[in-house]
C-alpha cells in the first residue's frame, strides 16, 4: 500500500548499503576504507583522506535528541494527516557529530504523532527502531 510519505530510493548508489542495513535491523554508518573516518550522510569520497574505499559499520543505535520540530499544516497530504507530529535529530552515542533525522515514537510501527511534543527534551536518550514503510525500513527512535 502506498504510504504517501516521501521515501528514499533504496537503490541510490551512495546510500543503498545504509537502506540494506535498516532492512536487516542495523543502523550503519559509512566509514572510510583507508583512514577509518566516519561520515554521514554517505558520499563517494572521504573528505579526510580522499579515498574512494568505504565500509559500513554497525552502530549501537543509541543516541540523544539534538533538536526537534513539530510541523503543522500546510503539508503534503500524508504528513498533514498526522500533523502535528514530531521530527527529531539524534546525535549518535559513539560520535555526537554523526546525526540522523527521525521521529520519536513509542513502538517501531507506532504513529509519529503519538508522543506528546511538550514532553520531548533535547538531550534525552533514545534508541533506534525500524519502521517498515512500503519497501523501506525507516529508522525511528524510542525513549531509551
Amino acid at each position: 500500500m502506498e504510504s504517501g510519505l516521501l521515501l528514499p530510493d533504496v537503490e541510490d548508489p551512495d546510500a543503498a548499503p545504509f537502506w540494506a542495513g535498516t532492512a536487516r535491523g542495523e543502523l550503519l554508518v559509512q566509514a572510510c576504507g583507508k583512514c577509518g573516518a566516519w561520515r554521514m550522510p554517505p558520499r563517494p569520497m572521504c573528505p579526510a583522506c580522499r579515498s574512494l574505499e568505504s565500509t559500513w559499520i554497525a552502530t549501537s543505535g543509541r543516541g540523544t535528541v539534538w533538536s526537534f520540530v513539530v510541523p503543522h499544516p500546510p503539508l503534503l497530504p500524508a504528513y498533514a494527516e498526522l500533523a502535528p507530529y514530531n521530527a527529531i535529530v539524534v546525535a549518535l552515542e559513539e560520535d555526537p557529530t554523526i546525526r540522523f533525522v527521525g521521529n520519536l515514537v513509542t513502538s517501531p510501527e507506532g504513529p509519529i504523532n503519538e508522543v506528546d511534543p511538550a514532553s520531548i527534551e533535547i538531550g534525552e536518550p533514545v534508541r533506534v527502531v525500524f519502521a517498515p514503510v512500503e519497501d523501506v525500513h525507516l529508522p525511528r527512535w524510542v525513549r531509551a
Binding site: D12, W66, F68, V69, P84, Y85
Partner: protein, 385 residues
Amino acid sequence: MAGPITDKTAIVGIGQTAFGKGLPDSELSLACQAISLAIDDAGLSPGDVDGLAMFSMEEGREVDVARSVGLGDISFFSEIGYGGGAGCGVVGHAAMAVATGQCQVAVGWRARKRAAKTSRPWAQVSRRITGHWQWSRPWGVVRPVDEIAMLTRRYMHEYGATRDHLANVALAARKHANRNPAATMYEKPLTREQYMEGRWISEPLCLYDNCLETDGALAVVVTSAERALDLPHPPAYIHSFAQGLPRQHQTMTNYFCEDPLRGPAWACADALWRTADFGPADVKVAQLYDAFSPLIVLSLEGYGFCERGEGGPFTDDGNIEWPDGRLPVNTSGAGMSEAYVHGFNLVLEGTRQMRGTSTSPVDGADTCLVTSGEGVPTSALLLRK
C-alpha cells in the same frame, strides 16, 4: 584592505514591479518589466546592456529576456544557485564582470510567483528521493520552515534565545513596512500579542516568523564607477562582495557537521570584510535576508555585529528598528513584510539607503550591508555612498 573590485562598480539603476498575489503576468513578463524599469532608472538604453546575471531558479532564460527587452550583444552571462542565497551573488557577479572588462553594463534580477512550480519545490517533490534530501524528508522535515525550525530549536536551547527575540525581528520588519507604501503589509500593523497568538507552522516557528509569499520582480543595473558619475542617480558603490559555502555545509539541513549553528554567514563574512575598508562597527544600516526570523539573529552574529549567542539580545530595546536603533535592519520591511522575492528586494533597499530615498532613511548611513540567504550557500554585499 581594498580588493581588485573594491569601489570599481556601482548600482546605477533599480526597478521593481508591484508586489501581489496572483498577478496575471508571467514570471518572464515580470522580469522584463523590472529590467526595463531599471534600465530607464539608470538613464541607459536596452542596447547598452551587454552583461546578465540571474538566479539559476529563474523561469525566464537569458535568451528570452534579451529578446523581449531588446538588449544588445551580450558578452557575459552568469547564473547563481541556491535560491535565496543567490541575490547578492547575482549583483556581485555582475560587478566582477564589469570590473574586469567582461562587459560594460550588466543587469541582475529576480522574478518570482508564489503559485509557480519553481517557488514551492517542497510541494512537488517526487516520492522517491535521492541525494541529501533522503536524510530529512522521509521523517516529515519537508518544508524550508521545518528545516530552519530544527536549527532554531537547537539555537534557543544552546543560547537561551526566546520567542520574544524572534518577535523583535518580525515587529521591526512590520514597523518599517508600515512606512513603505510599496510594501505588502504597508497598512497592516502587527503587535507582540498578535505574534504570540499566531498559529504554529513548525514549532518553534509561528506564522509571523515566516516570510510572505509574493508575486513580483526586481532588477538592478551595474556599471563602472566612472560611468556611474554621468548617470542620473547617486551611485551605490559596490565596495565588497563575497559568496560563502562553509566546509562540510549541507544546504538547509545543516545538521551533519561539527558546528551546525555556524552557518554560511561566517564564511561569507570572512571574505566580505577582508576586502573592506571598514568593519561591522561602522555599518549603520543592514538589509539581512529574512525568509525566517531566526536567520536575522544568526546573521547578526555571522556578520560580526555581536558575538555568538548574542544575536537574540541584540534585537532587544528597538536596537534593529528605525530611526534610533543601533543597527536598523530591513528598512523596507523585507521578506517578512514588504515582499518575498528571494531577497532581491534587500539589494534595492540597500541602494535606496545609499541614494537617500528609502522610506526609512537612516541618518548618517554611508554604508549598507546586504546579505542573502543564511542556511544555504550564500552571498553578501557591502554598499557605500
